[in-house]
Symmetry: C3
Subunit: 672 residues, 3 copies
């Protein structure tokens, strides 16, 4: 069950403004006469929130200590006069050239020792005292000037924190972080397993970030460095947030997350933001994108403790940073936006308001294209904005979930280090594979991280929880002990918090729970291995297998050939509590996995919000509203359990809803 | 119409020597007794020009200031005595080890900050004052000694200029270059769009070359750096040229171009050379190579203002720098050489005379193989040399073209920066696709660059002119206004001179001309999009589409499905002048594009030199001679409009010419 | 004929212990109570030798000069008390962090100038005086302390020498090495062909290791640097070996080889080790692995001069450093181990005894898995150990070979430099292709290197001897002159000792011998070229061809089309001595090559130990024992020439041996 957070949240804003709609606004790229046109067009388009100033440091402070706020004063006045709220950014993601030239140590360094240059963005070192002082100073100057400005309803610190630096300043901060984590150098040596390959440290000062080396690096060094690197960026965020909180009390402060971003452990970040805000860039050319986006949204809602979150950035059409950028259609733009709302977002904002004429993102779409307002895209933006205003009844509501998926950044990092049994087993694809049948069945899912209370869940799925700490293992056992269902994917519970292989037969903390134990990881030859199953059907497994033996559980499926003859492939143990523990010791085809997950959900008594959903149609209940989203490129008809009205169109649906290609409805029950 | 250049040119040489035939000669790799054998074999092989001394710096100046010219004196005497002219090189492409060790700043630096080492070639930094002084000094010493030597009929500065350096010396030169281009730092900030991502410069000294950065670099910074890097190499060339011109007045000075070489804008280089000379290395294993070579030759002839140019280097057999080097057959060597002559070359030289026994190019073929003169290859060399002497009537003549293809380095650079809509749309492949049907039809084509006068052309094709300056856009409009045909390929006229997206509907400077305008670039899903056409035929488009609407033009083809239903795919507008403007808003299959180009040529009244050429047979008229070149691996028969004689064999052809596999004829009309 | 070496060898050990069985033991990764369990389990598993201390430098010397030997004293006592012999390592492969931090110059530098960091292993610079002093000091301290310890029966210097460093210290050592090799700078300039691309050196101090450069490096510079780099590591090895020899006279000293490891010329290393010891890591998922392993074992036996060698490391199950690591089955582990024994090994050891819980190799299998002794893998280990004890009769014996394969590191290095005619022709795959039919026929093969005496061989095969020195060429000619058969593969004898192309028609030193000569290397178009043959059959050749003409030889096969019509593809010349010389000027399909090799063997009178072996069954006679090894995944039946007993099982076989999938027998003749 997601824990209430007591955070400031979006409540005050959405109470005044309804669902937030707008985007990044970069007036510094345009002449003042364009600002006036922008504000007029924003009003027409129903924009009620813009993020301002993200990349304005060099404009505000063109040389050290000289400040120019006049343009910002004017833009804020224009927006405020038009009733458009502002999410004001500290412009600290992109320091001006002068900073990195006068103080080269403010620029980050790669693993190979190359000091990065200005000319792009996010080139700062998060450990540089000069960078941090200068960044704090400009954040303070902004907060002092605009902390009480009535247009400023939210603060946005930096942008897309995610870089990693390997310089000596980061080395010193890493040493301090490790000292806090491990206490003594002896404990660090134990935790890092430095007895291997003779890496023992005699002093904290001997420790450096992972750098170019002739062969494999120490995996715990790399793991702890990833933890540190995320924390170090968080420290940068926090000190700016704190100065804003002091000078603009009561206004929520946030920064934009990036979904399952590899470099940042958002379980540690989420408690530090007042609003969980996400940048969402699914690829419309990828057929797996709808389910993947849904999982990301569930993560964000869960990071927000079940309270509303917001989409801070998304594309209205195409992005420009993939090698080949197929644009979203208007229907797809609408569908993707509604998916976020359905899964708990109270804001659907875009990057950016007006398409840039220059710079590295000039081919990234915007709410207002280069071709102007008389365009299909902009008309779709206006229509969607109007539609969102009809969804007031979902504002502030949540999504009730009795199923949870476990996701942990440390485990992800550790599982994908080099020199694992196979690099074909990947954490995010595994998460998507296990989430897919839940998504398809309309089963609401929370995402839970380390330390999460699992009491409210009847079904907990850990697709590949490679690393698990002891107390989390105990909580997972608790699910079964109180009658719930736990489904463990392959190569789970292998490692402890330091990434050490847990001794004994695997999965060590769960082998009695699942009634089987293993002794060897068996990446499969390319031909795969045959598996037989009475409970499911026979199939060929590819990629992954494990050598298990039954110890009280039952084999739902077992290998039937090659070197694994007779070994269980999927095991289940029924417990006296009524609970079940499942362990999938292979990577079955998706349809087999679908069946396994459906059986687990059935055993847990967890059902979707609608039965018999057509393939590719997603159903979510948020507050009073039942969202149906059709990701298919053609029409689907969904059977309804009674009469409903579609809030988006006002149309009544009696026993079925007809969803056009990439269409969606937001239904409320009505008396027949 | 190509403008006369007034350059010194090849005239004096070819008047004396006829078509130039020979190659690079590196006697410093051999003992003096070999020199004598070389000269004797050169005479047998009909060699009349050798390029001497390209990599001889360390031999001439083994340590700073010590000069050894004796060997060169002797070689020049030997060659002169044999009547072989010399293209004498300044040996400045490859400074000796002592230069880079004593003055490390003379060595170039990569984008990642790695200073390159000696041990290869072309490792110098073009901005290093020490390199440039030392290079000038040795050029001066050579010119003083040999400026009046009767054997020296041409000067060759450096070799294959093309490197790019990112060091601080280059940074300072870049700053000066930018100051000249942009005048004020404010204008630079505007041109570079530094408002994006907060990159504003407060001072010229803050500007650095593009270097390692965490994400996308500023695209105009990269574009201007490419322009600068080409100009900087040109400055190195020019100062050596100038010292030679002073000391050897009247002798032509050149350097060797490399076709469509990415790093050097030859439109800016060509006016600075007295002879346009090209290194030509088509891959005989690539079936598209013949047409691609033809386009490259047309570029060279156009760079030379329509006057004769020369092949400075080509391979007689295999090269050695591809991963897998299929050799040319003798027939192919001859065919490739004749193609260059047919397209305006008055010289066909080779790298190199005698195959090296050592060094990085020891497996590069030569006129004289390791196995000696009793080889198939060398016999073919002798035969071809003799054959070329029979083509005296083409010397000094040109190729008349009423069609032109637009090619601009700045546009190429800008179009292929990262973070465009699609990296599958590439400038050179597009140029080849549009050139292919003209080549196949025997239509002569000039290549025109920025600033070109288009008055003489009835058909102008701009395959992907992504960046176009305003005055060039006006000249292109002029083609239609005076009754010609303009064919624009996709993603053209997108950007202005600074690479900014032109505001409004695209192609902004041409939308009224073509009678359609667009609002969105639509890279296609891998399945492509269906297109219907009455004027052509139905087809599927892959890779690229644009969302257009008609505004006075007619749709020659239109999309019929997916998200582009009803959008024009190919548009044409007939103008009162009789002219036509076409716009191809997609990447059609080659055969569709062939039909479009043929229709354009027909509308422009532009015809090939022969009708009904068999596929893969190329026809070019140069001066009085009709060249027919068969790129096919088997025989083709070509219908002739009358009786001809083949200059190469003396054979008479009446109504047909029978061309063997990879065979060629050089026909002159004869009275029946 | 392999030359006796007079080395100390394995004799004393195997006389006491029989076939060596055990592995690396890293007690520093475990608490002392585990040591006791380890020793007990080792005894149960029949372990008689462990390699100790390989990565213990930081444990022994936690800070400069402080030594802790107590733990090692205890481990040695425990092992000795259990009768387990010790191969004691100098821990110099992995210096502690303090070394590289206090003396940064002890860390190696990449070609791009990046100084490597600690955190992995083998990061030392082999030219650093500080590293070498400190490494010698710890080697000396160990030898002083344990030189007379009764458990220590072998010394193991460093580990898997193989790194290459490009720093300035290595540059200075390279200069000294070159001075020794070439004598004068003039001779170096000749040997390196520095006349090419103007690379002439005026002074030894101008020479640097190959470093980042703009284009191809001088190939002889690269070749000599590879020779130097191997020698430099060997110097590091030798100085540690010498101190041990002084302090522990009579105990054999070794280091572990890595098969056909690219960086180390083991022909130069082998005379310096008392025991040839190899690390053997075939990929069980690669069907070509059995024959490739056999060739590697034949190399090791040949490096040992025909005397016994040992497997120092192999995996009992999976490795973890491939992207996807399919584990060995127990049958495969046994088969691979027996193959080494069959081919001359008197020891079969593993990496490592107990699987690590942490560090970069925690997923590398071990004799004792994470899951402990109650595992399929460990039971197989115990069974195999017992089995090996039944093979006492092979200890000390050899394998008699009348066929030899030529393999030379310098030739390998030179042949695979960039800018060769084709990178699709690769030395090791060619070696495997020519070895395959010999392996399949049960023909024993020695591997011979430069300088080898070939007198004992009736068949000598040089699959791709690109570089050959004059005296080796003479020895190869001698094979034919005394009536033997020489089979030369394509692109052989191209270069001399400096990598210069030998002048004239190729293969220059052998063209009269084979009765044909060539003038052009002809990498083939992807479609290949047709070849006709009466002696074999018609086929299509891919990848490689050469333009030859017959000069006294006969064409066994000839090209029939394309540009090679009529050229010989495979030639043979019968000599008055009765000998034959063959030259294969192409890369025929494997089955054609099989036939060629079989004809050569037949002509040489060389037969396998058994006729009519089923495909994939390997037969080797070592001493009195006939090994039959079935690499197939299913049963094979082998006809026997009489009654035999299987030493492994005690089973009698009369006329046939039935080998299960991946099964093996070790047969001795018995009286019927």
């Amino acid at each position: 069950m997601l824990a209430p957070t007591g955070r400031t949240g979006l409540g005050a804003l959405t109470r005044d403004l309804g669902i937030l709609f707008g985007g990044d606004y970069n007036p510094e790229q345009w002449e003042p006469d364009v600002w006036r046109e922008d504000v007029a067009l924003m009003r027409q388009a129903g924009v009620n929130l813009v993020t301002l100033g993200v990349f304005s440091w060099a404009r505000i402070e063109p040389r050290p200590g000289d400040h120019d706020f006049a343009w910002l004063d004017e833009v804020l006045s224009l927006l405020h006069a038009a009733g458009i709220a502002v999410d004001l950014a500290t412009p600290t993601a992109s320091p001006p050239p002068w900073l990195g030239l006068r103080w080269p140590e403010t620029r980050a360094v790669t693993q190979d020792g190359v000091r990065l240059s200005h000319g792009s963005r996010n080139h700062f070192c998060p450990s540089s005292p000069v960078y941090r002082e200068r960044a704090l100073a400009i954040a303070r100057a902004l907060a002092e000037r605009y902390g009480a400005h009535p247009a400023v309803r939210m603060w946005h610190v930096g942008n897309e924190y995610g870089q990693v630096c390997h310089c000596d300043l980061c080395g010193a901060e890493l040493q301090a972080w490790l000292r806090r984590r491990h206490g003594t150098i002896a404990e660090l040596n134990r935790a890092w397993g430095t007895a291997f390959w003779g890496q023992r440290y005699d002093d904290w000062r001997e420790i450096v970030p992972p750098r170019a080396a002739p062969y494999l690096l120490n995996p715990t060094q790399v793991l702890d460095h990833r933890r540190f690197a995320s924390d170090q960026l968080l420290a940068v965020y926090r000190e700016q947030r704190d100065v804003i909180r002091r000078l603009a009390p009561g206004t929520p402060v946030t920064t934009n997350f990036m979904g399952f971003h590899h470099a940042t452990d958002y379980w540690r970040w989420a408690p530090e933001v007042d609003v969980v805000a996400d940048d969402v860039y699914g690829d419309p050319a990828d057929p797996r994108s709808p389910a993947a986006l849904a999982l990301t949204h569930d993560l964000m809602r869960s990071l927000a403790g079940g309270e509303p979150w917001m989409v801070m950035e998304q594309a209205a059409g195409a992005v420009n940073w993939r090698p080949h950028n197929v644009p979203k259609s208007p229907a797809r733009m609408r569908l993707d936006s509604l998916r976020a709302i359905a899964r708990g977002a109270d804001g659907s904002c875009f990057f950016q308001w007006r398409a840039s004429a220059f710079g590295a993102e000039r081919f990234h779409s915007a709410l207002l294209p280069h071709a102007g307002a008389d365009t299909r895209l902009h008309r779709a933006v206006q229509a969607h904005s109007a539609e969102l205003r009809r969804l007031a009844s979902v504002v502030g509501t949540g999504v009730e979930a009795r199923a949870a998926i476990v996701f942990d950044w440390s485990s992800w990092w550790a599982a994908e280090e080099p020199a694992q049994p196979s690099d074909r087993l990947r954490v995010l694809p595994q998460a998507h594979a296990y989430y897919q049948p839940l998504w398809q069945a309309g089963i609401a899912v929370d995402v839970v991280g380390p330390g999460a209370d699992l009491d409210g869940y009847d079904l907990v799925v850990a697709p590949q929880l490679y690393l698990v700490e002891d107390d989390d293992a105990a909580r997972l056992r608790g699910v079964v002990e109180r009658g719930g269902v736990l489904l463990l994917g392959p190569f789970s519970a292998v490692a402890d918090r330091d990434g050490h292989v847990r001794p004994g037969r695997f999965p060590a903390p769960f082998s009695d729970l699942v009634g089987a134990s293993g002794e060897e990881y068996c990446p499969l030859p390319d031909a795969g291995a045959p598996v037989v199953s009475e409970a499911l059907w026979d199939f060929t497994a590819y990629t992954w297998a494990e050598r298990l033996r039954l110890e009280g559980g039952e084999a739902v499926a077992q290998f039937a050939g090659a070197d694994l003859e007779g070994c269980p492939a999927i095991v289940r143990r029924q417990h006296p509590s009524g609970g079940q523990a499942w362990y999938v010791a292979t990577t079955p085809p998706q349809e087999v996995l679908d069946a396994v997950v459906r059986q687990c959900a059935h055993a847990a008594g967890v059902r979707g919000v609608l039965d018999d959903l057509p393939e590719g149609v997603e159903a979510v209940r948020r507050g009073p509203v039942l969202f149906l989203l059709n990701a298919n490129p053609d029409e689907r008809v969904v059977a309804l359990p009674g009469p409903f009205r579609d809030l988006l169109t006002g149309d009544d649906h009696t026993s079925t809803a007809r969803l056009p290609a990439e269409g969606a409805v937001a239904l409320i029950e009505r008396t027949p």
